[in-house]
Symmetry: D2
Subunit: 345 residues, 4 copies
């Protein structure tokens, strides 16, 4: 029994990754692809400028794209993945959920709303319980869950491991983010060759608020956000894929670098089809992880850490994840798998 | 009256920048160029693989390179600039100073020795007083002063401005460093294209210790190092020149971002031939400074800052300087100008 | 007596370069800046996102931008430089010239029209004579002259030197073009990092036809295009500025590499304020010219060549020029200087 | 029955690729790894700085590296792959073959010697017959065959297709070569970021002579080199992997672009374990093949072509192959497979 899934915003960079990952998926079957009305009626091959390194799957290429409208998507689609631009998703995503669809969305809107689960399945699967709250409050038949921003996803698993073991107080994080995080056309070559950009609009705030929500406690009615003091500084650099982050994490208990590494190595993962065998890989080499060498570990779904050093109040370390695999498309896919596992489909 | 100067290690990347900057200098005249013994006897044109964007000065090109040995450098040379590899400088630099030469050195050895002035002329010119201590203790006729590491130089001027105005307590700094900081052959293209390297051997320690010494108080006999808690995380990225740094600075007083910007804008510079009119330029745009756009401000000698945000205990901001101009060759040149100004030549 | 000039399309990449070059110009004074109607009424500082490495000139920053319309440009402007997108220039450029303005344009439209001078002042200044033909045929009071495409400008001076000395028959040229040639937003970072694009739409044809017209003979009434067989293959690579080109040039006479180099070295330049002392610099080193090292020779206005090898029917060599200095803004500026020199203003 | 193979020069970039490709090979089993004497005695994990994107195979990691000396390699090794630097291979490779080993070598020495087969299995497998000549003349018990240079391998399959169908006369080729072609440390980041280098020492000659030998006819006693006039211009650009080449091929018969494409599409491949199903992929899109998007087609073993245009005497087109897969390690591996297939092991 496969689940029939649709992808909203299927022609964009994240949409393409989603299709690449869903096509061979054991439980999901592509049943609908939506895009802007100018693409509706075209074959996916015509509508999408395919830029993934593996060829476009043949059967997907011949599917007909429909407009991003609940009336255009077949009713027997069980699950929607949304990679809509947030300006588009603002109005359209609720329309789908009101119509009864269950949605795993990568769009940034609604992420910090009280009744919207923001989940990384390996970290806070219980936040899915907010779906009941959401249905009560909004009168929705369907459900909407969100995955966090790609830069947030990279650091939260190691932070969650530290928090669980030693209690987290303060976080300072500086990011070196790949250009693909801004979408295919997001960063021009003139902006970034031989350069770096020390600010990504809205990204600092997302990292600070989303991580507090992700690390928060769900008490059955609401999520008590974590009170760690998080400050982020986000930079764009000339790499294609893979966000590298320098983190200073202060903890309640005094810890050694080995304590920290151990907590991350042993952090329990959830068993979903797309989740890696080990969520966090710990490098011994001080100059790893590196984006190009390590972003594709475990099919791009593993988070890597390394470079541990003790500080006065905790540890500093580096972490890395593939921003469009673990960080966007794969994050949504995992959330879809979680919805299936937890009986929401 | 021009000062006759020599450059030790004249064929390397920093040596070439020094020559480019000294050639048109109002007070300095190139009188000796040294390199390894394999280059001795050759013209500078033959010995150096010139890689600076401006052509090699004609008169310099025809100078004969001599070995890096006190016996080979003419006695009437008044001032030596050293850009020797630290492994070479370890033995050779003291030999020159014992011989009576006054030396401004960029090599990393001796930088944190008690009796060696480590100076940024605009920040701690009074540390030059250590020369008397040095002469007493080591029996040297000459003098040796050092400039800090390029990544340290970038952040210390803005930190000094904050410290002077509000008292500095904690510093966290994450760097995005250009490949030229490792020398011409230091980073291979296979290592860095589409990549970033989250560790630079020894660099983190240099930033942590050198900044404490630079911000310290000289009491006439010794430098009391600043007790700020400094932790650094150093990254190499695919840029050619210009180190960009994300800084979190905690201060004793509560400050706003405008307080911080104001203190930096008004930080007093010293008047030396190569020092910029304004030491620190404050950008209003949140996405500046950027390496390629801003590294050459004021002939590569200005430090730029921007991106101020308030944090719980202070401010975060970004800073940038040209690592081989302000950060290495220009830093040594400024120290040479300071030695002249203060009557040591 | 300075000439009052206007820049059409002043906010784009070529427009910015033009302003950077015109601001300190001995004979030209900026009197009008135009842009799309959405920018009209704003200060230039507001309207343009300034991306040149030198700061925006203060007086220019405060000028008010007007719409690109003959009625909006003051009548006492003597000379217009156009860097309009070709789709815009198609209709608007003739409107200005009909109105009596003299125009030096970088836009690609009209370049191969029979009565439009397409000129590189150092190569074919006599083609300016077409202005009389143009006035007769079109009834224009003003005048319109064009400069060629940046990739064409790079190779035509060395080809002209060979043609003049030995007669040119066949040309094969392969280009390695910088991203700035496509405008600031023309090439995304995802397209070009760790990549190359072996085709630039329309560029091959431009190189083939424009070079034949430039090397043609003007007989007082029309230009007899050169009958050399020219075939081009154009590639975009991850460099910022500077087009590098591999050329095979077959000649009527048998020549040595030294014959070819000599002809280029001795090729006579014209004496205009912005023209370089020597038009073509010949490198002896086989691995030069290189874009980053050599694009700024003589303020970006010199063409460099090197790598000569004999072939069965001629020579092969490499050439380089700065595509937005020599190749676009500087090319238009030189044409403006030629118009002044020849009495058209 | 697997063949026991050894890799000479196993720690270098090509050696690492060879190991990555041999490890899962159906017919070959790694039995010996050699490196310089300083690495002898170490485990491969210690001796090699592994830089391939897939992890080092566990069993290979624990193998002990021996010196590159016939006495150190077990006698029961049936086949040697050599990726030695040519300066090392000059003396050592013949020593192994005299000792009876059969060798498939990627080193550039001996490639154009009369009695050394230089082969691309899909193009000129019959040249293997030179082994008999070689044994007669040199008194060798073993055998030595070579694969061509990576830049030659990229263009020869499409040229062979044209030659077979229409007769090849003249070739002009301009290359855009990746940095990995120079080995891991071959090109520094300072040399190539925002730059291109219009010359690769010796590479032009290799492309010109090797292609003539590869396209030559073996008459049972010697190879009659093809008399096509080949001229190459080689450039290094800032890409990691994948050589892109612009080719002008003149043919005896008049041909259309579709004739050329058809000949390439239908060019017959040989059936070896590592050879692609189709040797040459023809792109319809004018801006393909591109290095990053297309280098890994068919596991990096396919050659891609596109951008056909008619010229006066033939066609121009672009071609691309992965320089360390199809171009070096994979080329040697294919030659090893050919030796097995043809009964030389």
């Amino acid at each position: 029994m496969t689940v029939r899934v649709g992808v909203l915003g299927a022609t964009g960079a994240v949409g393409q990754r989603l299709i690449q990952m869903i096509d061979p998926h054991p439980d999901f079957e592509l049943a609908a692809l939506t895009a802007s009305s100018s693409s509706a009626g075209k074959s996916y091959r015509e509508a999408a400028k395919w830029r993934v390194e593996t060829p476009i799957p043949d059967d997907v290429a011949e599917m007909t794209v429909v407009a991003t409208d609940p009336d255009e998507v077949p009713d027997d689609v069980d699950l929607l993945f949304s990679s809509l631009p947030s300006s588009v998703g603002e109005d359209v995503e609720p329309a789908f959920v009101e119509d009864g669809y269950v949605m795993s969305s990568n769009s940034s809107n609604f992420r910090t709303d009280d009744d919207i689960p923001l989940t990384i399945p390996e970290v806070n699967p219980d936040h899915l319980g907010l779906i009941e709250v959401q249905r009560d409050e909004r009168g929705w038949d369907g459900a909407m869950i969100k995955n966090p921003n790609c830069s947030t996803i990279t650091m939260v698993p190691p932070l969650a491991a530290l928090d669980e073991a030693f209690g987290l107080t303060d976080v300072r994080v500086s990011t070196l983010q790949a250009v693909s995080g801004a979408g295919y056309d997001g960063v021009t070559s003139m902006e970034i060759i031989d350069n770096a950009i020390p600010h990504i609009g809205g990204e600092e705030q997302k990292m600070e608020t989303e991580s507090q929500k992700l690390l928060g406690e769900f008490d059955g009615a609401e999520v008590q956000w974590h009170d760690a003091d998080v400050a982020a500084s986000c930079n764009r650099i000339p790499t294609l894929d893979g966000h590298l982050e320098n983190v200073w994490a202060d903890t309640e208990e005094d810890i050694t670098t080995e304590d920290a590494a151990e907590a991350m190595r042993e952090y329990e993962s959830i068993d979903l089809p797309t989740s890696p065998d080990q969520l966090i890989h710990v490098f011994e080499e001080p100059d790893r992880p590196q984006p190009r060498l390590d972003r594709m570990r475990d099919d791009g779904m593993q988070v890597s850490v390394g470079g541990f050093r003790e500080t006065t109040d905790g540890v500093q370390f580096n972490c890395l994840a593939h921003n469009t695999m673990r960080g966007a498309a794969g994050a949504s896919l995992l959330n879809g798998e979680l919805l299936l596992e937890e009986g929401y489909l």
